[in-house]
């Protein structure tokens, strides 16, 4: 069989190119009620009074729902600290306070305008550093603190390490929010099939959505079905529930089908973002470039609700020193509640922020020691058998070094010789390189699992197979990948393998479409279920096998020392970029990207390359263009006219996705997850290239033209001052 590694074209593409594909907002049917959510648009306030009399009097308004109508008014992926409709207090501008349900969308909007809500503004805290100070306003007063988590990590003795260092550098770095900007705005329809409440929507984890939604409306999980329509992108942004809670509530309450479609502004204000981080870090190295001590303090803005903050923070903490073997590490990572938009999962999950500081620092150390930035990485990158800062041995299959070597070779072949600089132009070119590491799958003792059923049909031999596994095809193409794996295992043509994956009642829990985990985890589950069914195949009765796959168990990390065994698999990446900076405007264009990935085994090469290229576009946005602005809790960039995603003209014309296949010992056919990796070290690679071009380091993300110009000016001033000081 040759299905593994073959670029089979996407079977779902036909419906997507003809317009037949149905996304959630396409599921509106005549007779459905339309819901409109009323947002708080207050940073922090007490709800004094809600008067819906006038709204309810409007012809066509069916109901105005408030907190009192919600059977269990709590939800959240990890902590249930968010209310479906706020009862007493709103904690950020995107909190929902009431839901107007009407016979059509226009009436629902008109009704929403008639609901009178009186607030009493409360002191707000929108700066995560201020949130940690004594006396700061409390976002959740019942918790008596804004601190969501402080995660220390201690290894070796940093003071001794710094005492032995020949060079010590310190840096302060910031990152901002990033908006997922999946192009399909949040939408859901809900209706009853008999006694079963069905919520049809887009999400990332059918069975987790079902757990939270069933709790909210107070029914058993068996009495609620979550179905995914075609999903218009996710990137972590659909891990937290949004419109689903409201559509389910309205339908449960009114016992009639309801639709809720958010516009772009509602979608941007209403769901979580990537965490902003404030990072101060000190690195010590020997003259030969060996890193011997790294001390880091990072503070992340978790926003108004917990979401996945504590897990994001821990991921950022264990990679505070990047993908390097450092004997002495002291990390203190904090995440706080604030009255800002909540922060949560987004492709990379804390690791792009950690690498922003770490990869910038190691290049600065290299420059200070006049060592090549590739050589210093070569010297310090993790090797097989190395110990992490958590004092556990890295999962087998450590490929950081071969990935870097391949990147270096590709950069030599493609970027050299460098053309001579044209001093008459205002444009300067520069090269940058960076390495990265990120976990595949869930971490820190979470009992990660994926369950699949494979049914076999045939008379004398196996003729067809049906795979059942609840997984979200958010656009990444997992449904095809899983079919390829099963077809390969059963030696069937692909067309003879069907998959049922979009209905929580028709397929077992395959786990979340997150942490780059589905090819790895769901791949192992369907492979094992296919093998089990094959072994027991009985042509007369038909055969079905259900298997739960669990990877090597991980453990929680200690709350004081960070000691533990956090992950079962890592992905490794190295990138080289060329940029061109206009030193009079700060405008920066990425010209060329080499992105090297050890994917273990590319099940479908075309799709792996697509993941790399698409993730790089988000990385270009993160590095340069996507400037999410929030002032005192108010979101100033709630549209694509102000929040700028990279376009065809912002992306380089030369992108080289390089796939290495160094088999992972646990992955299906050796595959390991890869879909987040291009975002992990990209921004610092661009920063290094800007430094190479201009002599200026930018410390803050995104690297807007203004920040780049400021950095160039500051670098110039330092040179002038140094020159003046040198004059006798």
């Amino acid at each position: 069989m040759t299905l593994i590694g073959t670029s089979v074209a996407r079977p779902d593409a036909r419906d997507k190119v003809t317009g037949a594909a149905r996304y959630p907002a396409d599921l509106v049917r005549p007779g459905m009620a339309h819901a409109k959510a009323i947002f708080a648009h207050r940073t922090h306030a007490r709800i004094v009074r809600i008067d819906s009399t006038r709204a309810r009097a409007l012809p066509g308004v069916l109901a105005v729902l408030t907190a009192a109508d919600v059977p269990y008014n709590r939800y959240g992926l990890i902590s249930s600290d968010q209310e479906v409709l706020c009862s007493e207090r709103v904690r950020y501008v995107g909190d929902r306070v009431a839901l107007v349900v009407a016979t059509n969308a226009d009436v629902a909007a008109a009704g929403a305008a008639l609901v009178e809500i009186e607030y009493e503004d409360l002191p707000a805290v929108t700066d995560p550093l201020a949130a940690l100070l004594p006396g700061a306003p409390l976002v959740h007063p019942d918790l008596a603190t804004n601190l969501l988590l402080h995660q220390p990590i201690r290894k070796g003795d940093v003071e001794r390490g710094f005492a032995e260092a020949d060079v010590i550098l310190e840096g302060t770095f910031t990152t901002s929010w990033q908006e997922h900007a999946y192009l399909q705005p949040d939408a859901a329809v809900a209706y009853y099939e008999g006694d079963t409440l069905v919520v049809e929507t887009a999400g990332q984890w059918l069975h987790e959505d079902r757990r939270q939604l069933a709790a909210i409306v107070g029914v058993s999980e068996d009495a609620l079905i979550v179905r995914y329509a075609k999903i218009g992108g996710a990137f972590g942004g659909r891990e937290d529930l949004s419109v689903q809670t409201l559509a389910a509530l309205a339908t449960w309450k009114l016992k009639r089908p309801t639709v809720l479609v958010w516009n772009r502004e509602e979608a941007i204000v209403g769901h979580h973002k990537r965490h902003p981080f404030h990072i101060t870090t000190r690195w010590g190295a020997k003259r030969d470039g060996t890193i011997i001590a790294v001390e880091t303090r990072s503070v992340a803005d978790g926003g108004a609700y917990a979401s996945t903050s504590i897990e994001v923070l821990k991921c950022a903490a264990i990679f505070a020193h990047g993908p390097y073997r450092v004997p002495n590490v002291a990390t203190d990572a904090y995440v706080t509640y604030t009255n800002n938009v909540p922060s949560g999962a987004f492709r990379g999950f804390g690791t792009p922020q950690a690498h922003w500081a770490a990869e910038s620092m190691i290049t600065r150390i290299a420059n200070a020691l006049e060592i090549d930035p590739i050589d210093i990485r070569r010297k310090n990158l993790y090797r097989e058998g190395d110990t992490e800062a958590t004092r556990s041995v890295l999962p087998p299959g450590v490929s950081a070094l071969p990935v870097l070597e391949r990147c270096a070779a590709e950069a030599r072949a493609r970027f050299e010789p460098r053309p001579p600089a044209d001093s008459s132009s205002t444009k300067r070119r520069g090269l940058g390189i960076a390495s990265g590491i990120k976990n595949v799958g869930y971490s820190f003792g979470y009992p990660d699992q994926s369950t699949a059923t494979v049914e076999l049909i045939g008379s004398a031999r196996i003729e067809r197979a049906v795979v059942r596994i609840g997984v979200a095809d958010v656009g990444q193409g997992v449904s095809l990948i899983l079919r390829q794996i099963v077809a390969e295992k059963l030696e069937l043509p692909l067309r003879s393998v069907a998959i049922v994956h979009e209905d929580s009642a028709q397929a077992p829990n395959g786990g979340s479409a997150s942490a780059s985990r589905l090819t790895f985890m769901a791949g192992r589950a369907v492979h094992a279920a296919a093998a089990a069914a094959q072994a027991n195949f009985n042509a007369r009765t038909g055969t079905s096998a259900t298997v739960q796959f669990r990877p090597k168990p991980t453990t929680a990390i200690d709350r004081i020392t960070g000691e533990g065994d956090p992950n079962y698999c890592y992905g490794y990446v190295a990138q080289a970029v060329e940029v061109e900076v206009d030193i009079t405007t700060g405008l920066t264009q990425v010209l060329r990207i080499i992105s090297v990935h050890d994917v273990g085994r590319a099940i479908n090469r075309q799709q792996v390359e697509g993941q790399i290229e698409g993730c790089l576009a988000q990385a270009v946005g993160y590095a340069l263009t996507e400037n999410f602005v929030s002032r005192e809790g108010a979101i100033l960039t709630p549209h694509f006219s102000t929040y700028l995603l990279p376009t065809t003209l912002d992306m380089p014309t030369e992108i080289y996705p390089i796939i290495m296949e160094l088999a992972d010992p646990q992955g299906p056919y050796g595959a390991r997850g890869m879909s987040e990796m291009p975002l992990v070290p990209f921004a610092p690679a661009v920063a290094a290239a800007i430094y190479d071009a201009t002599g200026a380091w930018v410390n803050d993300l995104p690297m807007t033209p203004e920040r780049i110009l400021d950095a160039i000016d500051a670098a110039r001033e330092r040179l002038t001052t140094a020159a003046a000081a040198a004059v006798p």
Partner: protein, 160 residues
């Protein structure tokens, strides 16, 4: 007010409110949900349709009444029966889509581009699609798809 719009060859006579946007007219009055809505601010391009076969417009920033008397082509009008348009086939073959939400707009903007420039250069394709956002693919395969479709559609050289 009553408008008469030909969509994919079928005439729709409908009574619409003057404020109805063309995108919602197509989706709600004509039942053609292949034209998507993504931003409401003319920034993302998932709602692009062709007017009179030769002009690409963002249908979320045009009123339905402005289309009165015109011919609209949406993504549903590209294929001839079961035979996909070369652009559709190319987006499929070249993996020019992932989630697919931007695809109808990309196809229609490319369709109009190829009407005017049957053999566009890569910079011309990038320029023509600069108003169409994609959050999944990084655009590389979209550009390749348009190039492949252009090659497919250009007249074959006649042998002497």
């Amino acid at each position: 007010m009553i408008i008469r719009v030909t969509v994919n060859g079928t005439e729709f006579v409908r009574d619409v409110e003057p404020r109805t946007l063309l995108a919602y007219f197509l989706r709600e009055h004509c039942g053609l949900t292949g034209t998507h809505v993504g931003c409401d601010s003319s920034s993302c391009g998932v709602c692009v349709v062709a007017i009179d076969g030769d002009r690409a417009v963002k249908s979320c920033t045009m009123f339905a009444v402005q289309a009165d008397g015109h011919e609209i082509t949406t993504v549903e009008g590209l294929a001839q029966g079961a035979a996909l348009h070369p652009l559709q086939q190319a987006f499929w073959d070249c993996h020019g889509l992932q989630c697919g939400y931007c695809t109808p707009g990309m196809l229609m903007a490319s369709y109009v581009l190829l009407k005017h420039h049957p053999n566009p250069s890569e910079p011309e394709i990038r320029e023509a699609l600069a108003g169409n956002l994609c959050r999944c693919t990084g655009y590389q395969n979209i550009i390749t798809s348009v190039q492949q479709a252009a090659a497919e559609m250009s007249p074959q050289p006649v042998e002497a």
